[in-house]
Homo-oligomer: 345 residues x 2
C-alpha cells in the first residue's frame, strides 16, 4: 500500500461488504474512507472533506444537494453503477460536478441476466425446479410430465386442448421482443436474442442510426406490437413508471415484462394487480421499486421469476467496474477526458 | 371425424394425457387405439393387430422384440420423441421395420431449454428466486445483495476476495462450452451461445464438415478443455455413461454439466457424488436415469437446476411433432421417402 502524500486524495464511501475496490483504490490514491468513521456522514464530511475534489461512491448512497453542500470543492463524483438515479444530477450540473458511471463494465452481465430471466419465465425454469425439488414429480398417480396451475400447465404437456385456456410455456422462437432503451445493455440483449428467432424492436429517446430493428417512438405502441417487453433504460423523471397500467393492458394477457433497469420504471403496484388479474402473463424482475422489499403477492406466482438485484453480481463485473472507476479518477487527475461521463441533462 | 374404410389403418398407443395428436390422426386414418383397451397390450395386439403395418407410439412405451412379435405385419414405427432409446432398433432393423422420430420438431425448444438451464446454473436464477421468495432478502441485518452458501456466494457481491474460494456465478461471456452431439439440437445451442461470447467446441461420432468449431474425437479431452459440457446426443450403447467419473474429474471443480439428452448419458450416481464432493461445480438437468425419480441429494443444492423432462413441453412443439408424425405416415402409405427416418445402425 503506497500512500505517499504525492498521490491525490480521494473520498470513498461504501457499504461494509463491498470491499472489492479497496486494493485498486489504495494502490493509486490517498483515501479518505468516510464509511470507516463512527461520525454521522454530514459531520464527517464537514470536518474532513472540505478540500476533496473527487468522491467514489460505491453502492447506492443517496447523493443529494444537502450531502453535496458538505463537499464545496467537489469536481468529480464516481459512481459504480450504470444507473445514477440515486444522484441529484441537476444539482451536480448546477455545481459543475462531473459524474461518471460504470460505463460498459456491467453490460454483458446485465444482458445475460435479462436473457436468463426471459428464458426462465417463458420456459418456467424456476417453477419446474421447485416442482422437482418438492418431490411431486415422482409421486405415484401424478402425471409424470405435468404441472398444472390455475391458468397454466406450467411444465409438461397440455392435458386438453382448450383454445381459451391461457398458457405461456412456449417457443421462444418467433417471440416479438420490444426493448425499452437500446443502449450498451439493450443492444447486447438484442444480439443475444436474435439467434433464438426473436423479432426485435425498440423504444428509446431517439431513433438509432444503422440499427435494423423497428423503432417505436412511444411505449404504448411498442407494447401493443410485442409479446415481451424488456426494460433496460435509465430511471429518470421521464422514464419513471414508463410501464403503467395502460401499457400493460396494451401488452396483453400473454405478455411478459423483463426488468433489469430500475424498479421505478414500472408502476409496481399496478403490475402486481395486472399479474393477479391476468392482465399480463408473466414477469422476470431483477429490480423492485422498494427493494429489498418485494410485494409478497408475487411469491406464490409460477409465472414470475424474482431476482435480488443480481444482474451485475459477478466477480468479472466487479473487476471491470473497479478498472473503470480507477480510469475515470486517473483521467480526472491528469486532465484527460473522462472514460464514462454521465450526461447531466 | 371421417373414418372411412378407405383410410389406412394405424395402430396408436399413448399415455392417457397425451391427447394432442388425436385430432390429427383421426382426420387422416382409421385408428386402432391400443391404449383404450382394458386388455393387456400383448393380448390386444395378438387379437387385433396382426395386419397392422403402421404403429404410432406416442410417449415412451418400451418397444422390444417381444412386443414387436405381436405385430407380424409391421413395416413402420412412428415415434414422437427425438431419442429412440426406448426402441429395440436392432430388432427393427432385423425385421425390416422403418422407424421415424420427431425430426427437427423439438430442436428449437430443446436448444432454448439447454441455454436456459446454462444461464440458470451460471447465474443462479432459481436459487435467487428461492432467496427472494423466502423473504430473506428484505430481512433487516442481512446484507441486501448477498446469499452465501457453504462454497459459493450464490447471488451478490463477494464479501472477501479469497482466491482459493470456489464460485460460479459469473460472466457467461468467455465460457468455453463443449457440446456432445452437434446435430440439429446441438448446432442450435451453439448458434444461440455464440453472441454470449461463449467459445464453442464439440464431440460427435465424426467431425462435421464446414463447421468452424473445434472438434474433439474423445469426450475426456473435450471435458478437460471446457468450462461447460452440454449433452444433446442420442443415448445408445456407445454413449451410455459417456460422462463418467473420469470425465467429471477432467471437467473440474468449476465445471458445469447441462443435460437435455437422456439421463443415461451420465453416470448419475457418480455425478451426485461429484457434486457433493465439489469435483464439479454445478449441473442443469432436464433428464435423469430413473426419471421421474431424481436423487434427493440434489434437492438442497443451489448450484444445480432441475427440470422435469420439460425441454419439449411447449404447445408449439406438440403441434410440430404431430405434423411430422402425420407426414411420415402419409409418406409411408403413398410409398414416398419418410420425412424423419432413424438410422438403424
Amino acid at each position: 500500500m503506497e500512500e505517499s502524500s504525492e498521490s491525490p486524495l480521494v473520498l470513498v464511501h461504501r457499504p461494509p461488504t463491498l470491499a472489492y475496490m479497496d486494493d485498486h483504490l489504495s494502490r493509486n490514491f490517498r483515501l479518505l474512507n468516510a464509511h470507516l468513521s463512527p461520525d454521522p456522514l454530514p459531520l464527517f464530511l464537514s470536518r474532513h472533506a472540505a478540500s476533496v475534489t473527487a468522491f467514489v461512491n460505491i453502492g447506492r448512497l443517496k447523493i443529494d444537494a444537502e450531502l453535496l453542500s458538505h463537499l464545496p470543492s467537489l469536481q468529480l463524483l464516481v459512481c459504480t453503477s450504470v444507473g445514477t438515479d440515486h444522484v441529484d444530477l441537476a444539482e451536480c450540473k448546477r455545481r459543475g460536478i462531473a459524474v461518471t458511471n460504470a460505463g460498459d463494465a456491467f453490460s454483458d452481465d446485465v444482458a445475460d441476466c435479462a436473457v436468463g430471466l426471459l428464458l426462465s419465465v417463458l420456459r418456467r425454469i424456476p417453477a419446474g425446479d421447485r416442482y422437482v425439488r418438492s418431490g411431486n414429480w415422482s409421486k405415484p398417480g401424478q402425471f409424470q410430465l405435468g404441472i398444472k396451475t390455475k391458468r397454466y400447465i406450467v411444465v409438461g404437456y397440455r392435458e386438453s386442448v382448450d383454445k381459451d385456456e391461457n398458457y405461456l410455456m412456449n417457443l421462444v422462437s418467433g417471440k416479438r421482443v420490444g426493448i425499452i432503451g437500446l443502449g450498451s445493455i439493450g443492444s447486447r440483449i438484442a444480439k443475444r436474442l436474435e439467434p433464438f428467432g426473436c423479432i426485435i424492436s425498440y423504444n428509446s429517446r431517439t431513433q438509432k442510426q444503422s440499427i435494423p430493428y423497428r423503432y417505436y417512438s412511444d411505449v404504448l405502441s411498442l407494447a401493443a406490437d410485442n409479446d415481451v417487453l424488456v426494460l433496460c433504460c435509465s430511471l429518470t423523471d421521464q422514464t419513471r413508471h414508463v410501464v403503467n397500467r395502460e401499457v400493460m393492458e396494451s401488452l396483453g394477457k400473454e405478455g411478459v415484462i423483463i426488468n433489469v433497469g430500475r424498479g421505478g420504471l414500472i408502476d409496481e403496484e399496478e403490475m402486481v394487480k395486472c399479474l393477479v388479474e391476468g392482465v399480463i402473463g408473466g414477469a422476470g424482475l431483477d429490480v423492485f421499486e422498494k427493494e429489498p422489499q418485494v410485494p409478497e403477492e408475487l411469491f406464490g406466482m409460477d409465472n414470475v421469476v424474482l431476482s435480488p438485484h443480481a444482474a451485475v453480481a459477478t466477480p468479472g463485473a466487479l473487476e471491470s467496474v473497479a478498472e473503470v472507476a480507477i480510469a475515470n479518477l486517473k483521467a480526472f487527475f491528469s486532465n484527460q477526458p473522462l472514460v464514462s461521463p454521465v450526461r447531466l441533462g
